[in-house]
């Protein structure tokens, strides 16, 4: 490709790699556009798109910096943000390790099965011994490699005096292998290598699916994170602006904050007048007008005009830092949650192990030799080894997570699904959660078709938040922009252009009114467009749906009580306004102490502590980075409906998991007596294990139809 030709001009030693998240890539054309156009730019040697992760890796030299590459991408029509140095590499490595282990176990299982089938069909004497030896040669390295995830986790649990699902698995696999090696050495009749490896294969498949689901959600969320406010343009002594990372900002520096940018540090305005959106910090929905001398906080978004801000406090001691501290404390209770599989293992492991011990003692007492007694005890362990049980939970949860992903909800892990199913009440933040959190035009009915098409053409070419909201609303109506030429944008004023000789403009209103507004002028005709933060579509339906599921909702907001009250009346909910982050946190904690399992849905930084403290939490994709990281799940899009689907699917999942457990117990009630009677051969064990696993997986697949 082009990259090769251009590459020759670069000295490979000076090249550096940076990665950017580009959420707007949606088609094959975007891939080729980025990969073809970027290297044409001075200083860029090559670009490689990862479409699944919505990322671009760019290799470039010192003549262009990260901000420069973001600008190039924006010129190509893609919003982009630099990604911090590879934060996900570790998790990817874990999934990769599991996949390799599945492959190894699969290879071993098939080859050993090949040999075992001939033994079962009657191969005897030398042939049988040869096949057992071959099986041992394959199985021992395979088990040593593929069994590591279980052995290390079991060891870890035992070291802390606990038990988890991996303890019975490890003991079963190791004993079965040991017994089979003994049988092979002594030319015995039964070797369980196939059973041991098959067990590992099925369980690893479950683990790999589980890890893949977490990766998918994580990369989905990473693509949503704005990475905004990670730095600021700082004015140098010579009057030029340079980009400074937030950790390098110092009090006294002057930041240039463009419209649409988020502040990286607390400060005082020294030049310019603008409106500041504090919704992320306080929940306040109405933008606050600010002018010279007024204090603004990190995390607030500048929505109308560029301003210069003198920094007074930096990351460690901003208003956000206090919220981060609260979140750390609040998040600790959640780590005490014990997942259902581990709760089952606490009962299951001792039961199985004492059964095995009992059969050993029983057969000894009955006068069988120690060899026969031991063989039977191990057969009990193998047949009860929680193959179906180990798959029961991950299989169901993976299917459920995929179902929810299609409906626009990213679930971070299986434990979140378990906790979602337990939720018995829902608390909603207002701004940005029940509402869209973006400025949308109130009423466009006064505009004719041409007017709308011109407005869209102008709004599209501006990066101002109000223009973006207008463009989004008009595009949603199916309006096609008219060709407007000579479009120029003046920061702080608006966009002007020329349509068939008529001057057209979209600019700040000349007369000041209440609330944010823009003024569209076509020739001499003026039209004022008012903006508001509208309720999400489906909000009322979703709340009703939650109510029908036995989950009453209420609003806890940081916005003024009057505004919150009005919304509560429209939605017919209980509501409290003017809550500080601390007060929200306290509310959550008192509910939990009263025995409730609250679901918290919120987006702002001020919701962070509450999201971390809640039994389970969901954040919208537009939420602050902190909130998305604190929440258990993130939904994308404007609709609130995924919240309702999440509860339905989570409950369906737990039903399936319980059915799977019930099946596993039923299977054991049937299989254990046969094993204890000494009637289990490797053939029976293999059939029983694969059959029970298949039934459990098939049952879990039914979840595809949940949340219909």
């Amino acid at each position: 490709m082009n990259a090769h030709a251009a590459m020759a001009a670069f000295d490979p030693d000076t090249l550096q790699d940076h990665r950017f998240t580009v959420p707007g890539m949606r088609c094959a054309g975007c891939i080729s556009k980025i990969e073809r156009e970027l290297p044409l730019q001075n200083g860029i040697a090559g670009a490689r798109v990862n479409f699944s992760a919505k990322r671009v890796a760019v290799s470039h030299d010192a003549t262009i910096d990260e901000a420069g590459i973001v600008r190039v991408l924006e010129r190509l029509g893609f919003e982009a943000q630099p990604v911090a140095a590879n934060p996900l590499a570790q998790d990817d490595a874990e999934t990769r390790k599991l996949l390799l282990a599945v492959a190894v176990a699969g290879f071993g299982m098939m080859n050993i099965m090949l040999l075992s089938v001939s033994v079962w069909s009657g191969a005897g004497g030398v042939t049988r011994d040869l096949f057992h030896w071959l099986s041992a040669l394959i199985a021992i390295p395979v088990i040593a490699y593929a069994g590591r995830p279980f052995f290390s986790s079991a060891l870890m649990a035992l070291r802390y005096g606990r038990t988890n699902m991996d303890v019975p698995i490890s003991i079963g696999v190791l004993l079965a292998t040991g017994l089979s090696i003994h049988e092979t050495l002594t030319g015995g009749e039964h070797a369980y290598f196939d059973g041991a490896v098959m067990l590992l294969f099925f369980l690893l498949a479950g683990r790999a699916l589980d890890a893949a689901m977490r990766d998918k959600a994580r990369s989905g969320i990473a693509a949503l994170l704005s990475h905004m406010g990670r730095g600021a343009s700082v004015l140098s002594a010579d009057g030029t602006a340079r980009f400074v990372k937030s950790e390098d900002l110092e009090p006294g520096m002057i930041m240039i904050v463009a419209a649409g940018e988020t502040l990286a540090a607390d400060g005082r305005i020294v030049e310019g007048i603008t409106s500041i959106d504090n919704a992320m910090l306080t929940g306040e929905s109405q933008p606050e007008p600010v002018s010279i001398g007024m204090t603004v906080h990190a995390g607030a978004a500048n929505i109308s005009d560029p301003v210069r801000v003198e920094i007074t406090a930096v990351s460690g001691d901003t208003a956000i830092a206090e919220i981060a501290r609260l979140m750390d404390e609040a998040g600790q209770s959640r780590s005490r949650y014990v997942r259902i599989a581990d709760r089952a293992a606490r009962l299951y492991a001792p039961a199985v192990h004492s059964l095995a011990l009992l059969s050993f003692i029983g057969w000894m007492v009955a006068g069988a030799g120690w060899h026969q007694s031991l063989t039977i005890a191990i057969a009990v362990l193998i047949i009860t080894c929680p193959c179906a049980l180990g798959l029961a939970v991950p299989a169901a949860q993976v299917v459920a997570a995929n179902t929810l992903l299609k409906r626009g909800l990213l679930i971070k892990d299986g434990s979140a699904l378990e906790r979602l199913a337990e939720a018995d009440m829902a608390l909603f933040d207002k701004t940005g959660t029940l509402t869209v959190g973006k400025m949308r035009p109130v009423d466009l009915s006064g505009l004719d078709h041409t007017g709308r098409a011109i407005a869209l053409a102008l709004a599209q070419s501006s990066r101002h938040p109000l223009s973006k909201g207008l463009a989004a609303a008009l595009s949603a109506q199916g309006v096609v922009p008219l060709p407007v030429s000579q479009i120029t944008e003046t920061a702080g004023d608006g966009v002007v252009g020329d349509w068939q000789g008529v001057p057209v403009a979209l600019r700040r209103p000349t007369a000041g009114g209440d609330g944010p507004a823009s003024e569209l002028s076509i020739g001499g005709k003026l039209f004022t467009i008012h903006f508001t933060d509208a309720l999400r579509p489906d909000a009322a339906e979703t709340l009703a749906q939650l109510g029908a599921l036995g989950i009453p909702s209420q609003i806890i907001s940081g916005d003024r009580s009057q505004v919150v009250g009005a919304m509560a009346e429209t939605l017919n909910l209980m509501a409290t306004g003017e809550l500080s982050p601390q007060a929200k946190l306290a509310r959550l904690q008192s509910l939990k102490e009263a025995g409730h399992f609250p679901l918290m849905v919120g987006d702002g930084l001020n919701d962070g502590p509450a999201l971390a403290a809640a039994h389970v939490s969901i954040a919208p994709g537009t939420a602050s980075d902190v909130s998305q990281q604190a929440a258990d799940a993130v939904f994308v899009g404007d609709s609130l409906r995924p919240v309702g689907s999440a509860i339905i699917v989570a409950r369906a999942t737990m039903r399936i998991v319980r059915q799977n457990f019930a099946f596993a117990i039923g299977y054991n009630l049937f299989a254990v007596p046969i094993a204890m009677a000494g009637l289990v051969t490797p053939l029976i064990a293999a059939i029983a294990m694969s059959l029970s696993s298949l039934i459990v997986v098939a049952n879990s697949l039914r979840l595809f139809r949940a949340a219909g």
């Binding site: 490709m1 082009n2 088609c27 094959a28 054309g29 891939i31 080729s32 073809r36 798109v49 990862n50 479409f51 699944s52 992760a53 990769r96 996949l99 390799l100 492959a103 190894v104 290879f107 098939m110 080859n111 090949l114 040999l115 042939t127 071959l134 394959i138």
Partner: protein, 50 residues
Amino acid sequence: MTGLVFLIPIALGMGAFGLLAFFWAIRSGQYEDMDGAANRILTEDEENGE
């Protein structure tokens, strides 16, 4: 019986070959971007051809 002398190594060899191929595929990042690979087939490579 003597057939086994050939058949078993062949079966094992084929399995091992598949396993090695899978290891190679994972190591070289073939599974990093599944959706991208599906889309790339649709892009034209302008330089080679036409």
